[in-house]
């Protein structure tokens, strides 16, 4: 079933590009532009100190960026709302249990989100290592903390979990509204409102709010040695599980008179 969802998304080329490929490509191009075009090396330098680890961690924070979430919501909308848009449920529902159909869609979203994050990371690594060569310098990785691999892995998991929370919300809105537009815009506006609240009220004022973005930030702070991860991890898991469960419960009872 997951393969079926993958094939459908592969054939929706615009949604695949804007939803999962544009961000890694854009971020890589931006890294090349900023690193190679705007930041000139000092005269006479032979080596370039590359802060690869810090750059990769920063790249992973795209999962919490409202604009980043908009693009991932576009990809999610193409997966979760396509059956409503093209009357696809009438062909699928008689063939498999409804919860399995939704689970396959969620798994496909998870797969493409993971690939997108990996592409963003790979693009970042390529940009950080290639730019010095372009500038005629030898790259030297300047930040290699002892726990770099574990921190990078945990940061990746946090970013992935944040996207899964987004995917879960996109799925719920798609099922509830039967609309791809709503499935994209509602989670985006939600992320935008959460970011705006943080900007206006201050990070300390909103940190305790049980929202996925703040929970992911709290987990990132924990990786830097600040705070406790338990509440934040539970909050993030809750934002994955609860909308998912609500979407499944709603879809199981949904009359598909006209998708």
């Amino acid at each position: 079933m997951i393969l079926a969802e993958i094939l459908k998304l592969r054939r929706q080329r615009a949604a695949l590009f804007w939803g999962f490929l544009f961000l890694p490509l854009f971020m890589t191009l931006l890294a090349f532009l900023l690193g190679g075009g705007l930041l000139k090396p000092p005269p006479g330098a032979l080596v370039s100190e590359v802060r690869l680890f810090r750059s990769m961690i920063r790249t992973l924070s795209v999962s919490g960026n409202p604009i980043g979430q908009l693009f991932y919501a576009i990809g999610g909308g193409a997966i979760f709302a396509v059956e409503y848009r093209y009357s696809g449920w009438r062909h699928l529902v008689p063939r498999a249990a409804r919860e399995r159909l939704l689970a396959a869609k969620f798994a496909a979203f998870a797969l493409f989100a993971a690939i997108s994050l990996l592409l963003a990371l790979a693009g970042d690594v390529v940009a950080m290592l290639v730019i010095p060569f372009v500038q005629g310098l030898h790259p030297v990785i300047a930040d290699t903390p002892g726990n770099a691999a574990a921190t990078l892995l945990l940061s990746s998991l946090i970013a992935f979990a944040e996207l899964m929370a987004l995917g879960s919300l996109v799925m719920l809105v798609a099922v509830a509204t039967r609309s791809a537009m709503a499935a994209i815009l509602v989670p985006f506006l939600f992320a935008l409102a959460a970011a705006a609240a943080g900007a206006y009220l201050g990070a300390d004022a909103v940190r305790s709010l049980p929202l996925p973005g703040y929970a992911a930030d709290a987990l990132r702070h924990w990786l830097e040695g600040q705070g406790s991860p338990l509440i934040a991890a539970l909050t993030l898991l809750g934002w994955i599980a609860l909308p998912f469960a609500a979407a499944v419960a709603l879809f199981r009872r949904q009359d598909l008179v006209s998708e």
Partner: protein, 294 residues
């Protein structure tokens, strides 16, 4: 064992003008094998019924059994369905669509033989967006047959087909039932087509079953037509068994009752100009049953 057993199916839809009763305590049994036609005017509840069987719509009350099992995902694996108009993902090709559906059904099936069966093998790799309605209808049939089902439900399967396509569809359905033992439940507005292809029919009106039986039995139910005056006297004599029909009256009586009826009418002073037996076709039965239930 029935292929499809529907017991007390009731379904209401909420609309802006209040709840609408789409199916009203409908009980129907579709026997195993053969082609079963589902007839009814627009709004009779045919599509809702087919969607309930396919699991797309939940009944408010009642039970659906498929091949003796409660209609759940497991039982529906033996069901093929073409519901409503044949809409598909326009960005896929016919071959890709069948691949997607096979993967969803968790089977490995080669789409090409099915596409050959419905005459779409030469268009297998063309995007569905460019398909005509008839091609989409054929693709829908192929999709319904993908899992080699024991029961197939088809909603208006001849919509958009040209006469040649309709004839091919008739041949295909007969092949499915006669050679493969598949039970076909189809809804259609083409009554002459239903009469030619179906073994049994059920007629729905306002969500209720108004008649059901073998096509051969239904069209055999002759009625006596009388051109007689005054009509009111004829209707009074016939009671529930009489109804105006054209310029005369149609009487639902048996041949053995005819002499007594005519004698009684003459005794009542009715002038009988013509009396003849009508052997109805399915369209006449359909119109009589659905008008009568309004």
């Amino acid at each position: 064992m029935s292929a499809i057993e529907l017991t007390g199916i009731t379904k209401r839809f909420a609309t802006s003008s209040g709840p609408v009763l789409a199916l009203d305590n409908l009980t129907l049994s579709v026997p195993h094998g053969g082609v079963f036609g589902l007839l009814g005017p627009n709004g009779a509840g045919k599509s809702t019924l087919l969607r309930i069987i396919a699991g797309l719509v939940r009944a408010d009350a009642g039970a659906v059994r498929l091949l003796g099992e409660g209609a759940g995902p497991a039982a529906r694996r033996r069901l093929g369905a073409l519901i409503d108009s044949p809409l598909f993902y326009p960005f896929l090709s016919a071959r890709e669509l069948l691949t997607v559906l096979a993967r969803t059904s968790q089977i490995s099936a080669d789409p090409l033989p099915l596409l050959q069966l419905v005459g779409l093998d030469t268009a297998a790799d063309r995007p569905i967006a460019g398909f005509s309605l008839g091609m989409k209808q054929r693709l829908g049939i192929a999709a319904a047959l993908l899992t080699d089902p024991q029961v197939v439900i088809l909603d208006e399967p001849t919509n958009g087909l040209d006469p040649e396509g309709i004839a091919e569809m008739r041949t295909l359905l007969r092949h499915l039932t006669d050679a493969r033992g598949v039970t076909v439940l189809l809804s259609s507005h083409l009554l002459d087509e239903v009469e030619r292809i179906c073994d049994r029919v059920a007629i729905l009106s306002h969500g209720r079953l108004v008649t059901e039986g073998k096509v051969s039995d239904l069209v055999r139910s002759e009625r006596l037509w009388l051109d007689a005056l005054p009509i009111a006297a004829v209707l009074a004599r016939l009671g529930d068994r009489g109804a105006p029909h054209g310029e005369g009256v149609v009487a639902g009586i048996g041949r053995d009752e005819t002499p007594a009826l005519i004698a009684a009418l003459v005794a009542d002073g009715v002038r009988i100009h013509e009396a003849r037996w009508l052997r109805p076709d399915l369209e006449q039965i359909f119109l009589a049953e659905t008008r009568g239930s309004r």
